[in-house]
């Protein structure tokens, strides 16, 4: 059975750690009959919550990797993407937010809006994800849902409005009053599975009427019909739902629901709200990039009959083999179809098509626009776009930044060596910014990526998921070399080894390149070097750029001009001229005053405004340059440029400086000359390290 697109909800559940979102997910699966027993997050029963499918997650009680699962409620299909709740796993967060149409923001009735709530809420704002709020743990001592609603408005700028009021609080929590139907709802039977609707208790009637008035006031802003109905005193539930839905989808209203998932209270009305208020894939505008038109943005249509566009947003190794999670944005996929991967234009056949429910699966024969499904045995990378071949669209830019940091990893034993290789092979496919190679000088396996935390997560996953015991070296910044002056060369490569000799003379000059690109200019006149040897000279110079003579890092572009030379009719060859170019490079390189360049990262720190000073000072201490500081109410965003070498351990430092209330992102900006004082020290360290590596 394929669901109608208007009956699909692709949602995430986002929250501060320990707000109970995994428990909530678990209850949702239970009430929607996807599971038949309830397990707890910390896994006291040795099973663990169903959504936390990775071992590491089960152990820590947190969710690292986003497992997708689906369930059915009120004739709607709900695909739940369990988004990570920890600030360090932003790659996973960004990926899962990309495929969401709506979200449940879970808050703790005691803790209220916490630092991580602010982070996830901001992330959802960035991706324009409409949300409804669920105030969980209303059964806990100190629970105060009213205060949480105030915080949602004041601290997160939500237009939050209660859709329910609690019947009792803390240990007395018995149910909720639904302000739309004005009925009391009690959750009875095993695991609260039987809902009993009753009259509102007398002592709550006044509070309920007042709260309903506030809710109607807020909802009427989104519907003239509701406003008229309120004036005429003839308000129907349908009108309220319609207005709340409009407000929610436009992200101008956040309806708030209450409960205690652990005590099985309030989850079913929340599921009703998901189907009533959160958008279907049809309500959301999705953009793809047309690769035939220089990545021009195109709007996709959620039409099953349109040409296919689907995004592979997650890969997983499972007992069934490699699993690719796919979000279909446009068109349909049937078992047996041929798909084309936009990145490499390779065709793949859809063998098995399934819906996942955490780590269990259900095979299906067709899936349509708006759906989230899994493919088996399809060779692809995470972030790849699939089409049926009629379009060449990509859901994400095909630009992949170069890694800026590397780390050596070595297996502790033979068994781990194979497991580590498997793990690396998998990660490279999952994440295009994660790379791996073997350093031929030291023989070490090197992994490289976009930041310290990025690599730390993969090392942890090697151990946990693949059982590979590994040791890591110190993180290593990917420096570059460049020349800073013009230098001339005139080199003769001459070799007589008994057989045919080698002869080639190359003369010219090297000079810095303004844009960091390698350029080879042939100014040879009068055929002093025959044309057929010119590409070999170019090749010789290019080969020297791979490893600079100063500290052994790649050389970032230069302009090389050859204007003279000599050849021998018998002894000259392509090889001889390649060697001559290498000799010429070595002859001129140090005369061209090489310098060390370091990666400079664009660092953006968002924090409550009171920490602006601490944030700026922390950047200043790290040789950073603050570009700007932008305030928007209570938050300040400080933009800066900081050398990557100074960013190690910054996440921890920032947390302690801001009581964990700041969040930072960084991306590569440019290469810049290392200051003289630091360059000398660096040269010594790197040379010593490379000697050590050769031993």
């Amino acid at each position: 059975m394929t669901p109608e697109i208007e009956h699909i909800r692709n949602i995430g559940i986002s929250a501060h750690i320990d707000s109970g979102k995994t428990t909530l997910s678990e209850r949702i699966l239970y009430y929607t009959k996807r599971i038949f027993a309830v397990h707890e997050v910390k896994g006291k029963d040795g099973v663990g919550a169903t959504m936390d499918s990775m071992e590491l997650e089960r152990e820590r009680g947190i969710t690292i990797s986003s497992a997708a699962t689906y369930c059915e409620w009120n004739n709607h299909t709900i695909n739940i993407i369990d988004t990570p709740g920890h600030v360090d796993f932003t790659i996973e967060v960004e990926r899962s937010l990309r495929v969401l149409d709506g979200s449940i923001l879970v808050l703790c009735a005691v803790g209220g809006v916490q630092s991580q709530t602010i982070t996830v809420d901001r992330q959802m704002n960035r991706y324009k994800v409409p949300r409804i709020a669920f105030i969980n743990k209303c059964d806990r001592a100190g629970a105060n849902p009213g205060r949480v609603v105030e915080q949602l408005c004041a601290r997160l700028n939500h237009n939050a409005v209660l859709m329910q009021i609690p019947i009792g609080l803390e240990g007395e929590l018995a149910g909720v009053v639904d302000l739309v139907s004005m009925r009391a709802i009690y959750f009875e039977g095993p695991y609260g599975g039987d809902l009993r609707s009753d009259d509102i208790p007398d002592y709550l009637l006044d509070d309920a009427r007042k709260a309903r008035e506030v809710m109607l006031d807020a909802a009427s802003m989104f519907s003239d019909r509701l406003m008229e109905a309120i004036i005429e005193g003839d308000v129907s539930s349908g009108l309220i739902h319609e207005a709340i839905r409009t407000g929610t989808i436009s992200r101008e209203l956040t309806p708030v629901f209450l409960g205690a998932a652990y005590k099985n209270i309030g989850v079913q009305p929340l599921l009703d709200a998901v189907t009533l208020y959160l958008p279907s894939p049809m309500d959301v505008k999705n953009i793809a990039l047309d690769l035939e038109q220089e990545e021009k943005e195109v709007v996709l249509v959620s039409e099953p009959s349109a040409p296919l566009v689907a995004l592979a947003f997650k890969l997983e190794v499972t007992p069934y083999g490699q699993l690719t999670y796919l979000r279909i944005y446009q068109g349909s996929i049937k078992k047996g179809d041929d798909l084309v991967n936009t990145r490499d234009r390779k065709r793949v056949k859809v063998g098995r098509l399934a819906r996942m429910h955490a780590d269990k699966m259900e095979e299906i024969s067709i899936a349509r626009a708006g759906d989230i499904v899994t493919l088996f045995g399809v060779e692809c990378y995470s972030g790849d776009t699939f089409t049926d071949g009629r379009l060449r669209y990509a859901m994400t830019s095909i630009f992949v930044p170069e890694p800026v940091i590397s780390l050596s990893v070595s297996p502790k034993d033979n068994k781990s060596e194979i497991k580590m290789a498997k793990a690396i092979n998998r990660f490279v496919r999952e994440d295009p910014t994660f790379r791996s190679y073997v350093d031929h000088e030291s023989g070490e396996n090197i992994i490289s990526g976009m930041g310290e935390l990025h690599l730390e997560i993969y090392v942890e996953r090697m151990k946990r998921e693949f059982g590979a015991e590994v040791e890591t070296g110190m993180p290593q910044v990917s420096y570059r070399e460049a020349i800073s002056a013009r230098a001339e060369f005139d080199y003769i490569h001459k070799k007589q080894t008994g057989g045919a000799g080698q002869y080639g003379r190359v003369a010219g000059f090297m000079e810095p390149s303004e844009d960091g690109v390698y350029e080879f200019i042939n100014s040879i006149k009068g055929g002093v070097i025959p044309t057929e040897y010119i590409p070999a000279i170019d090749k010789g110079f290019k080969s020297c750029l791979k490893k600079g003579r100063l500290i052994g890092f790649p050389v970032l572009g230069m302009k090389i001009t050859i204007n003279d030379g000599q050849f021998h009719s018998v002894d000259s060859s392509e090889l001889a001229f390649t060697q001559a170019a290498i000799g010429a490079f070595n002859q001129a390189y140090f005369k061209a005053k090489p310098i060390i360049l370091e990666p400079i990262m664009k660092v953006s720190v968002e924090s409550p405004s009171e920490y602006q000073g601490n944030v700026m000072a922390s950047i200043n201490q790290r040789r950073g340059i603050i570009i700007s500081s932008a305030e928007d109410g209570m938050f300040t965003n400080v933009e800066s440029e900081v050398p990557l070498a100074e960013m190690f351990g910054y996440a921890t430092a920032l947390r302690s400086l801001t009581q964990g209330k700041a969040e930072f992102t960084m991306e590569f900006s440019k290469y810049q000359k290392v200051p003289e004082s630091i360059a000398e020290e660096l040269k010594k360290t790197l040379v010593e390290r490379s000697k050590g590596g050769k031993k």
Partner: protein, 231 residues
């Protein structure tokens, strides 16, 4: 390379009594909508940067990315116009000496700006010589704001340049000859200059010169594309 100082719009101030605005004082650049207030204000900022001074650009409307791109566009125009050789070094130096403080969604308050300036001085030893204020709703701003700026100028020993939008249909001039909207607070302003686009070209005119009368013909003609003084 041609010296920027010789063709900077602030060359106009050579025709003023003190040859400068001066620390602790407020200056205003007036112009009608679309004449190029922000561009001219950024040229004033470059005048300071070319002198090796430090400045804080305060944006009350645009996000920092937009302000940065304004500076970049004007910088590369100057590279061409001045035939600048050491472009990379200059760019790096200017970026270091310029700080952008943006206050989005009407979040600007003098008190908060004061705290932010104090942070710059105390925490990262960034001591500005000038403040450039762009996006101030001059005609609707309370007098308190200007008094606040005046106090900040004294406290941090900086000169402050701001822009003001004038209107074709409002020709009011106060008893000291200062046009609307500067006329409301001209006692707090030391220099007022007006950017005018006429059929014969773009001119920058001195309207108020500290406590001295403005000299007749105290104006410079600007290149309409580069806002540099036509010599």
């Amino acid at each position: 390379m041609q010296d920027f100082i010789d063709i900077s719009p602030l060359k106009l101030l050579e025709m003023s009594s003190r040859k400068e605005l001066g620390r602790g004082k407020l200056g205003v650049l007036m112009a009608r909508a679309g004449v190029g207030k922000t561009a001219c204000l950024i040229h004033i900022a470059f005048d300071k940067l070319f002198r090796g001074e430090k400045l804080v650009h305060i944006s009350l409307e645009d996000a920092p990315e937009k302000v940065t791109s304004y500076y970049n566009v004007i910088f590369y125009d100057l590279v061409k116009a001045l035939d600048m050789k050491n472009e990379t070094e200059n760019k790096m130096l200017f970026d270091r000496n310029r700080m952008i403080l943006a206050y989005m969604n009407r979040s600007f308050k003098i008190k908060r700006l004061k705290e932010n300036l104090k942070t710059l001085v105390d925490k990262i030893e960034f001591l500005p010589d000038s403040l450039i204020v762009d996006g101030l709703d001059f005609e609707n701003a309370d007098r308190d704001i200007f008094e606040g700026f005046k106090e900040l100028a004294s406290e941090f020993n900086v000169e402050i340049w701001s822009s003001a939008l004038s209107h074709r249909h409002i020709t009011d001039v106060n008893e000291r000859g200062i046009p609307y909207p500067c006329s409301r607070v001209d006692d707090l302003l030391s220099i007022v200059i007006q950017l005018q686009s006429t059929q014969s070209g773009v001119f920058l005119k001195l309207i108020k010169d500290h406590d001295s009368p403005v000299l007749p013909d105290a104006n410079v003609r600007l290149d309409p594309n580069t806002f540099l003084v036509v010599t």
